[in-house]
């Protein structure tokens, strides 16, 4: 009986869950009876062998259990042959593409490592393609099984030609070329529309995937090549074109007679086609760009020698030009057909409507792509003349086609000199981009590694004392995840611009480090800090045996031809230096933190910063070569990713933008770079009021400008018994896990808002407080009838934030 138990226990495992108990009960009863029956006949108990015979007659548990289930296919016999052919075609195309580009690629002797890398990626791509095709085929199989398409057929419809009126024009007649290609490549004749459909699906799928995953097109060379901005602009159109084309094909093969379907494919097709032609005509032939270091390879055809990239772009240009011509021809044909078919019926409003729609779409697309100079000038005039937020603002824009500068305003209040592309501004924290670039450059040259612990670069005696810093790496400093406070503790937040900052020494910094205890979440928790990047500059300079300023000059500004970027104002820069103004447009002090220059002490001009942004897309320059390294490390921060220096905006209208803003006592700055379109924007202003919104709005018009501000209100501090402040001290929760901390520090009431330095609150009344540095920021405490403080309302130009006091 033990055999029986073992058998049913195994069988149980594989049975359908719901019937499991019932089936097991039945089978064990039956076997039981069978055995008893045999024992009766034989008049003795069965031997183990005889028992095994009886149990064995019921079949292997796996086989028997499977018989209780319905037959299942992932991909049924109808779809399977198509699935198999499609898969073979796509894999063959992929391998051919890879082989060809690998051959081109390895002819460049520098590229073995990159080729290896890309080949590793190819395995994943093959896997992904197979997986997707399998999923698609399984879905198609389920659909075919459920729909009645294959039952409801009529032999008379099979090879019937499509009536001229309902035939959509072939934009890019993929099927004709593709069937030729498939025929030559595989030896298959493709007389049927069905096979045409498969070829079309395969090629369209590959083509669309290749636009998302360049490795499918370039093979190993994808480590160096990427689709350029023109291709990205064309992408949505190619998707629509392909969808229209495939819909039409499916409709023809399955012989669907829905009228609306042909209306859609018949009219959407020409519309998209016209847009396609416009896009190709207006393109700048940036189909393909370098994604990695440039290659030196040259291509010679017909006595003409071209750099490789130009050659590739010309090939694409010719192909798209050809497609555009075909589209124009088919549009003309379509129009002719339409006119001749409607002439009899006297309908003539539709083409006009279509043209109107078309011009509307093109117009709005052209408009959405960039702001014109007049619009930018209006923004500057509003900020300077109307709302008095600044005295002088210079905007610089760089695209692969060139640079533009738009400027408005003056060097200082009462100064007649106008600001311009060579005017010198404090760029504040935009300095951090230079420091991060320096780190990426030194890493690329193998001088340091971003994963090196920082104690390695400290003087030995400091390193010996700084036991709490062992877990912090250079990358943690550059990504603000080291856990250091905004300023080292010896610089109170209220001291900005005072002698305490100017006299703060590197020795004091070392002193601070030797007592600092790194938090356990180093590398994970983002907290913006001048200490981080300031210290990074100190360490890199120490390692190179130089000063931060000298390193920036020799590694970055001199190679890029930037003549007016420095910590100290050179004599040649002096005449161009603008004066700083507070948010209330009063004269502001200069930024002077000699121990932490790397965090925000550079001066620069729009021309110089445009030089950096222009170089960022060119891997042969120090800036372009440093970019991959700067973007390789990303740490999560609220609403964006923090790379080395650059902040990368998350999903939303600004998705993918790289940016950094800067603010000093009398200047504001913002630098934005779009790596896809290789467009950069710089905005420099000589007042402390932020200009970040202008830079973002220019880079992506969908990102809004800040609401117009009224001139900063004048506020007067009143005298309050400091003991009263104690009632307000405590933690306040604005939601989303953040905490505002209000503390009394001597006679001052302070508020700590995450991500920015501590602010001193000055009383305007017993409940209303303001921030002297920016009187637009106010805090009002809520007090209930019993006199208890229940919460606060923080008002700032960016919005009002209520916070509830933690009990």
């Amino acid at each position: 009986m033990e055999l029986l138990d073992r058998y049913v226990r195994v069988l149980r495992l594989f049975l359908p869950r719901r019937q499991r108990d019932d089936i097991v009960r039945e089978i064990s009863e039956e076997i039981h009876e069978q055995i008893l029956d045999k024992e009766m006949t034989l008049g003795r108990r069965l031997t183990v062998d005889e028992q095994a015979d009886v149990v064995g007659g019921h079949g292997h548990p796996l086989v028997t259990a499977a018989r209780y289930r319905p037959q299942q296919y992932l991909i049924g016999p109808i779809v399977f042959p198509y699935y198999w052919i499609a898969l073979k075609c796509v894999l063959a195309l992929m391998l051919c593409g890879h082989a060809v580009s690998a051959a081109v690629f390895v002819s460049d002797n520098l590229s073995w490592r990159a080729a290896e890398h890309a080949l590793e990626g190819m395995a994943q791509n093959v896997f992904a393609v197979v997986a997707w095709f399998t999923i698609l085929a399984a879905v198609a199989d389920r659909w075919l099984a459920r729909s009645k398409v294959l039952q409801r057929w009529d032999p008379r419809t099979l090879m019937q030609p499509v009536p001229a009126g309902s035939q959509a024009p072939r934009l890019l007649d993929v099927s004709r070329y593709s069937s030729t290609i498939v025929k030559t490549a595989t030896g298959f004749e493709s007389p049927s529309t069905t096979f045409g459909l498969i070829a079309a699906v395969v090629l369209s799928g590959w083509w669309l995937l290749a636009l998302r995953y360049p490795v499918l097109m370039f093979g190993p060379a994808a480590a160096r090549l990427d689709w350029g901005p023109d291709m990205h602009r064309l992408y949505p159109l190619l998707v629509v074109t392909t969808a229209v084309f495939l819909t039409e094909r499916v409709a023809r093969v399955l012989w669907l007679r829905q009228r609306w379907l042909f209306l859609v494919t018949g009219w959407l097709g020409p519309l998209v086609g016209a847009l396609f032609v416009l896009k190709v005509a207006s393109s700048e032939h940036q189909w393909v760009v370098w994604a990695g270091p440039a290659m030196s390879g040259m291509v010679a055809i017909g006595g003409l020698t071209l750099p490789l990239l130009d050659f590739v772009n010309r090939v694409f240009g010719v192909a798209f030009g050809f497609a555009a011509v075909v589209t124009v021809l088919s549009l003309v044909r379509r129009g002719y057909q339409w006119v001749s078919s409607k002439r009899d019926r006297g309908v003539h409003s539709a083409p006009a409507l279509c043209l109107l729609l078309l011009s509307g779409i093109t117009g709005s697309i052209a408009h959405a792509q960039s702001l014109d100079e007049a619009a930018i000038r209006r923004i500057l005039e509003e900020r300077i003349d109307t709302t008095k937020q600044s005295v002088g603002i210079v905007v610089g824009i760089v695209t692969p086609q060139g640079r533009r500068v738009i400027r408005h305003g003056r060097f200082a209040i009462g100064d007649s000199r106008e600001v311009g592309p060579d005017t010198v501004f404090e760029i504040g924290s935009v300095t951090k981009i230079f420091t991060a670039m320096l780190l990426a450059d030194m890493t690329r040259r193998g001088e340091v590694s971003v994963t090196d612990p920082i104690v390695r670069f400290l003087p030995p005696d400091v390193a010996a004392r700084a036991q709490g810093l062992k877990t912090i790496t250079l990358a943690d400093l550059a990504t603000h995840t080291a856990g250091f406070p905004f300023w080292p503790s010896a610089i109170p937040a209220t001291a900005e611009g005072t002698a305490q900052m100017a006299s703060y020494s590197v020795d004091q910094l070392y002193q601070f480090l030797s007592t600092f205890e790194a938090p356990p979440d180093v590398g994970r928790r983002w907290m913006y800090s001048n200490t981080d990047v300031g210290l990074l500059g100190v360490l890199l300079a120490r390692h190179a045996g130089s000063t931060y300023e000298a390193l920036i000059e020799s590694r970055i500004t001199r190679p890029l031809g930037m003549t007016s970027t420095a910590v100290a104002i050179a004599p040649a820069m002096q005449p161009h230096l603008a004066a700083g103004h507070t948010a209330e447009l009063k004269p502001a002090g200069a930024w002077n933190v000699p121990a932490l220059t790397a965090g925000g002490s550079l001066h620069s001009t729009v021309n110089d910063l445009l030089a950096v942004l222009a170089a960022a897309g060119d891997p042969t320059t120090v800036a372009g070569a440093a970019m991959p390294g700067m973007l390789a490390i990303r740490r999560q921060a609220p609403g964006f990713q923090q790379a080395l220096g650059w902040m990368i905006l998350a999903a939303g209208p600004g998705e993918g933008l790289l940016l950094h803003d800067g603010n000093t006592l009398g200047f504001a700055s913002s630098m934005v770079y779009d790596p896809v379109s290789r467009t950069g924007v710089v905005v420099l202003s000589n007042s402390a009021t932020s200009v970040s919104d202008i830079a973002r709005h220019i880079a992506r018009p969908a990102m809004p400008l800040a609401a117009p501000l009224l001139p900063a209100p004048r506020k007067t501090e009143i005298a309050i018994e400091p003991a009263l402040f104690d009632a307000y001290a405590g933690a306040y929760e604005p939601g989303a896990g953040a905490v505002f901390t209000v503390t009394r520090e001597g006679d001052a009431l302070m508020i700590q808002i995450p991500g920015i330095p501590k602010l001193r609150l000055r009383p305007e009344s017993t409940r209303d407080f303001f921030v002297a540095e920016n009187t637009r920021v106010t805090v009002t405490f809520n007090v209930d009838a019993a006199g208890r403080v229940t919460g606060l309302l923080l008002k700032a130009p960016t919005g009002n934030v209520p916070a509830v006091r933690r009990p």
Binding site: E26, E29, G59
Partner: protein, 94 residues
Amino acid sequence: MAVMAQLRTEHYGYTLKKELAGRGVEIDEGTLYPLLRRLESQGLLLSEWREEDKRNKRFYRLSADGKRVLKDLLAEWHSLNASVTRIVGNRSAA
């Protein structure tokens, strides 16, 4: 078809197998029991657990639907059989 025909009278698995074997239709248990379940899920068989000889057994018999389907199947079978016999008969005569 043979199973269905046999189930015009009520049986449980083991006696069914023995009866079929007695009439020359050998069918092993690993096939028979899943087949019974499938026929039941198609509504051709009815089943119930009942005690007999102090043991619980699952009894199967043909349902009303099952009887109709069996009749159709038998008719088809007879006509097919007749056709095959004619063809085979013609061949052997030739």
